[in-house]
Structure formats: structure tokens, C-alpha cells
Symmetry: C2
Subunit: 387 residues, 2 copies
């Protein structure tokens, strides 16, 4: 096990009826809140009304900032920064999934700096302050509600980059599984894909050979996500399945499964960011296309690890590691398809002829993330396996 | 999954060479520290010198308070409170295992109240403040380094009771696995027993029937503890095995495995506390005596859960749940014996004739912890199975 620091102070308030606590949690950090949300699904689901009532009960002054879209964009966050400054809010509340939370995190940083916000995403500057941020979660996938990261797309250059800082770690996140009841089958599937792949990137891409414990944690959480997603697709209002998914998505990417694993890289995410930046497809949908292809491209380097996944998750009996590993990749791809997530570029209408352009875009993020081996050629070769 | 709040803000600094960071972490909370430790093992292991050097480098004024013993006692903690007040320390540093950390937690509370300290342990009063507390860990079992609990024995009445409050959650804990290299085989074994039984109490004693995810986490961590303990007993200086044990002991009792599981009770701990309060045996040693007996007394109420443990951990193939469950209990007891932890009252020289006295003592804690079904008769019947 390698040296590490683990610190995750977010307070999680989990369960039915907990959204009513939003006001009192916000009141600990200020009297005027910027309420960031998306394109209106929270109004249909009733979460909007619950949050507003709770904030009003706690005498919080509310400044609404709706309109965050999936694959959130920098220009929108910059408008949020203007509103936050103009209205002098003390605290930011995200009500939504990863896109809304990441928009809110970006606004929280922007409200406390005069620097160019994008410089933090290109790692030119370090974040030194942010407004306090809280969340009410309505889509569980990114774990942004319990981690210090955010991802935003800069439309100029179509770059989907990320920031990471303890200043944007949420103070409190409120998770009511019933808020997921109205989530569509597609987004329920993409959420599962996203959470699983967060873990699998760490499972395959770390610098520590002694990982028995973390491997077991990943497998435990992955099994939970898979079996509960199957239940959710049959019955979207199965409380326990939604609750398990809500908590699993957090455990998948809150630092737990990679503690002690050394340097963890996210090459599948790196490539996928280009798909969602260029074509605005859902992040989970992009990941279920890229991940099996990425795994196929690299299985030969470490077949025993891929074989382990195949045996633990899919019960593959094959003794030969490479064969077992490849069988596991095939089954993972089939499972993604079975829950309705795309598994090829064709599935989402991206023409093969675009591969060079995508690879060129992805290479920019590879540089920022220090993934030196991922040249345009390597990335293009992986994309060719996504057919 | 039932409603829950998860909040664990302790910063963990984990790995080789990290004890040198003690001074700078302490400096964030004050300039004068009460350094609480035990009966001298840290001087033999070299940890004492490392801590002192780090504190001196950070210009921290040090007030030493040694002498905490295994099964720490209230009278000693009260002396620590006097010293802390007299010297006007700003912060408390525990350097040791659970006994030292719990002594330090009790002192941290005592230094900020004029109430009778024992009233917090009998749940007559709620803790409202404490000095900030940090730890350097030299024995990994209790998870006290990353949780808000402490256990102390009041010699008057031989009562081993506990407190729980966010005020005593450590701010920072420094875990260097090499600090465990000199831990004796006995205490290495007791540590494993303690960590495993923390989890098994939650595994068997919760009020939530849908626990697939938490069950898998418990099983993952338990397997890790068992395989690494076997390595440690062969080679006490196996870094990776000590590291896995150090992190597993924390995950076993930092709130992770019981999140969403409703009300979790600790009946085996309740009974064991009387053994260590009355006979001053190591807590882990007492637990390996009580736990299999307690399991045998209750297996018939929920055989499928005991069968699950038997199959997952010990690979038991038996189809009948009750038979499988009983086989698992037998194998757990054998495993405890195999690592050198006692499995009967006889093993630690406690005469059968004392059972009534022990049961009477345990009943007092059963009342404080709200374990209504545990009458003296029920407790005595379990103790009779500890032969």
C-alpha cells in the first residue's frame, strides 16, 4: 500500500424526507443562497418545491440560477458567477446531478477570484478559495456530492476539463432516494455505467501491485450497482434499489477504493470527455462505448487483473487469464448493452471518419492529465475498437 | 436501507515516514500540547523520539502525560484532566492504540467541563465541548483514531462504559504501518479479533433486512484482515500486511459498514466489557471468547445470515443454513484459536463460578446501552457457552 491522505469531511444526510433539512443546513453557512439547478426536471419531480419550502422555512433569501445542462458549459457557469457576485450570495446550493453540482462548484470558485476561471481547469493556477457549497442530489453517478472535483466543458475549443480542490468539497449533501424515482431508464443506466467505470479506472490504472483489499471493495460495490440497476429498470420506484445505487455511486468515487493505490489515472474518462464535449452525448453513454474498447486494447499487458474481474463479477470459469479477461470484457460490454447504454460509436451516430478529430481533441486533455503514452495514434486505435 | 447521517471529517495521513508531520498538524490547533501515551512501548519502538522531534521542530510546547494502561481507567484520565488544566494546553495528542486514544479523548472532554466526567459515560449528560484531539497510531484495532467514541473503565464498580460525540472525533490521525512492526504476536492477534468483531456485531445486529452491500463490504474487509494477520504472525515486519491491517481496522468501525443499517447493537462488546473490566484481560482476547458463544446462542433466530458468513468467509459448502451457520461459528472459533487468541473463560483463567458476578456487571451496561433482552439470565447462559 502506498502513502496516502484520506480526508472527506462532507456530511451526508441520507434518506426519505431529508430534503426538508436543506434550509437548516444552508443556514449554517449564510443567509443568501444561489440555488443552481438544471433544465427543470426538479420542478416535475417535486424536489424544487421541497427545497424552496425548506429554504423559506429557514428564512434564507433565494437567488435562483437554473439552466445547467448535461455536460455543463463554462459560459453558463460564468453567468452564474456574475449573478453570485451581483447579488452577494453567501453560499451556493446545487440541486441536481453531477452537471448541476459541477456548475455550482465552478461558480463557487469564480465568485471568490478575479483570475480567469479556465486557468484552474488547465492547471495553470491553483484554487485558493470558494464559497461554501451544499447539494441536494437528484441523479447519482458522479459522486461530485462527496468529492472535491468538477468537470466543465469550455465551448471554445470543445475542451471538457476538470478541477480538484478541497475548497469545492461539499459541506453537506442531502440524498433522498425517492428523488431518483422519476429518473429515466436511460439516465438510470448511464448512472450505473459512470459509477462502475469510476471504480474500474482505479482498479486497472494504479501504481500499487498489492491491492487485494481495494479490489474486493470495488467488486463489492460493482456487484451492488449491477444488481440494483437491474431492479431499477424493472421498477423505477424500488426504494431500496435506488438507495443502494445512491450510496454506491458515492462510495465508487469518494476516495475509498483508491486509498493507498498510488497514482490513479483515468484514460477512458480522458477519451470519453471528447465524445461528450464534441457530440454532447451523456457521459455514461460515452463511457460504455470507450471502456470495453480501452480494456481490449490493454488486456494483454496485465491479463490476470482482467481475468480477476471476469471471474469475480461474471463468474467466468476459464483458467487461461487472457481468455478469461477477454471474456470478461465481452460480458461487461453485453451488460452495458443489456441495460440500454450504447456500446459503439455507431450506436450514438458518430461516424468513423471523425476518429482523427476526436483523438486530436482527447490528446489535449491527455497532456493536461499527464497521460504521456496516449498519443493521437494510441487514442485513435482505441476509438477504432469502439465500432 | 434506512435513513442515516454519515460524517467522518478526520484527516488520515497514512504511510511510511509520516510521523514527522505530527508537529505541523498539531500547530494548526495550538502551541501547547498534552502528549498522552501508555506504559513505554513507544520509547522502545522509536515512535516517541520521532514524535518529540517533530513537535520540537514545529516549536510546540510539550506536556507529557504517560501511563495509560490497556483497559484505561477513569482515575488516570482524571489526573490527565488536572494536568491539562494546570498547564493550560490547547490541544491533546494521543500516541498509542485505542486505550491511549480513549484516555486522551476523555481528557479532552474533561478539560472543557466542570461536570462529573462519568455522567457522560452513563448517558446522564451530553458532551458539549472538548479540546481538539489528534493521534499517532501504534496499535490498530479500535478505529478510535477515526471515530467519535471512547471507552473507559471506572474502577469504582468496575464499569467499562463508553462515550460518543463529534467533539471527540480526531482532527487528524497519523498512521505509519512501520509503527506496528514491534507489536507482539498476541496483540497483533487481539487487534484482528477486535476489528473483525466490530464488523460482525453490525453484520448480525442491525434493524435493516436489505443489507447486501454492507454485507459485502464487511466480508471484503474481514477477508483482508484474516489473510494479513496470518502474514503478520509469520513476519511481523511485512509492511504491506501491517498497512492493510492498519487501514482495515479503521474501515471496520468508522461508520462505513453500518451506514443505512438502522440501529446497530453490540451485545458481544457489552458482555466482553465486563471481562476486561473485572479481570483486565485484553479486549480482543475477551471478544474471541464471547463472540462465538454469543453467535451460538442466537444462530437459530436467523440461520441464513450465519450461513452466509460461513459460506463467504470459510467456503462452507453445506446447504442447510443452520448446519452451515454452526459450522461457520466453529471455524471462526478455530481461526481465533489458530492466531493465538483465547476462546474460553478457562483459557484466561476465569473460573466458572464467577459467571453470575460477570453477568451482574454486564447487566449494568446492557441497561445503559438499551439492550433490554439481555437479562442477567440471558447473559449468564451465553457465558456458560464460553467454557
Amino acid at each position: 500500500m502506498q502513502n496516502f491522505i484520506f480526508e472527506n469531511p462532507t456530511k451526508i444526510i441520507f434518506g426519505k424526507g431529508q430534503i426538508g433539512k436543506t434550509g437548516r443546513e444552508i443556514a449554517k453557512f449564510g443567509k443568501k443562497v444561489l440555488m443552481v439547478y438544471g433544465e427543470g426536471s426538479i420542478k416535475k419531480s417535486g424536489v424544487y418545491d421541497q427545497v424552496i419550502a425548506s429554504l423559506q422555512n429557514a428564512d434564507i433569501e433565494i437567488v435562483e440560477f437554473p439552466g445547467a445542462r448535461a455536460n455543463p458549459v463554462l459560459s453558463h457557469a460564468l453567468k452564474g458567477v456574475e449573478v453570485a457576485r451581483e447579488k452577494g450570495v453567501d453560499v451556493v446550493l446545487a440541486v441536481g446531478g453531477g452537471s448541476v453540482i459541477d456548475t455550482a462548484k465552478t461558480i463557487a470558485v469564480g465568485a471568490k477570484t478575479d483570475d480567469d476561471l479556465w486557468d484552474f481547469f488547465t492547471h495553470k493556477k491553483a484554487i485558493k478559495d470558494a464559497l461554501p457549497l451544499l447539494t441536494v442530489v437528484t441523479l447519482s453517478a458522479s459522486a461530485s456530492e462527496m468529492n472535491p472535483a468538477a468537470v466543465i466543458t469550455n465551448e471554445e475549443g470543445s475542451q471538457k476539463f476538470s478541477i480538484r480542490s478541497p475548497f469545492i468539497q461539499p459541506k453537506t449533501s442531502i440524498l433522498d432516494p425517492t428523488a431518483l424515482f422519476t429518473l429515466s431508464p436511460s439516465y438510470s443506466a448511464y448512472s450505473a455505467v459512470d459509477a462502475i467505470i469510476h471504480m474500474l479506472e482505479g482498479y486497472f490504472n494504479n501504481t500499487e501491485p498489492e491491492s487485494a483489499m481495494q479490489d474486493r471493495l470495488v467488486e463489492a460495490i460493482m456487484k451492488t450497482i449491477m444488481e440494483n440497476t437491474e431492479v431499477i429498470l424493472k421498477n423505477p420506484e424500488d426504494y431500496n434499489a435506488r438507495a443502494n445505487m445512491m450510496w454506491s455511486a458515492i462510495l465508487a468515487f469518494n476516495g475509498l477504493t483508491t486509498a493507498g493505490m498510488g497514482t490513479v489515472s483515468l484514460p477512458a474518462h480522458m477519451i470519453e470527455h471528447s465524445l461528450s464535449a464534441l457530440y454532447n452525448i451523456a457521459h455514461g453513454a460515452g463511457l460504455s462505448i470507450v471502456m470495453p474498447a480501452w480494456m481490449s486494447s490493454i488486456v494483454g499487458d496485465n491479463p490476470s487483473k482482467y481475468a480477476r474481474l471476469a471471474r469475480e463479477i461474471f463468474g467466468v470459469k476459464e483458467d487461461d487469464d487472457l481468455k478469461a479477461g477477454n471474456d470478461g470484457i465481452k460480458r461487461l460490454r453485453e451488460w452495458f448493452a443489456s441495460i440500454g447504454s450504447p456500446v459503439s460509436l455507431k450506436d450514438v451516430g458518430i461516424p468513423e471518419g471523425d476518429i482523427e478529430t476526436i483523438a486530436e481533441n482527447a490528446r489535449e486533455l491527455a497532456k493536461v492529465w499527464g497521460l504521456k503514452n496516449y498519443t493521437e495514434e494510441v487514442i485513435a486505435d482505441i476509438l477504432k475498437l469502439c465500432k
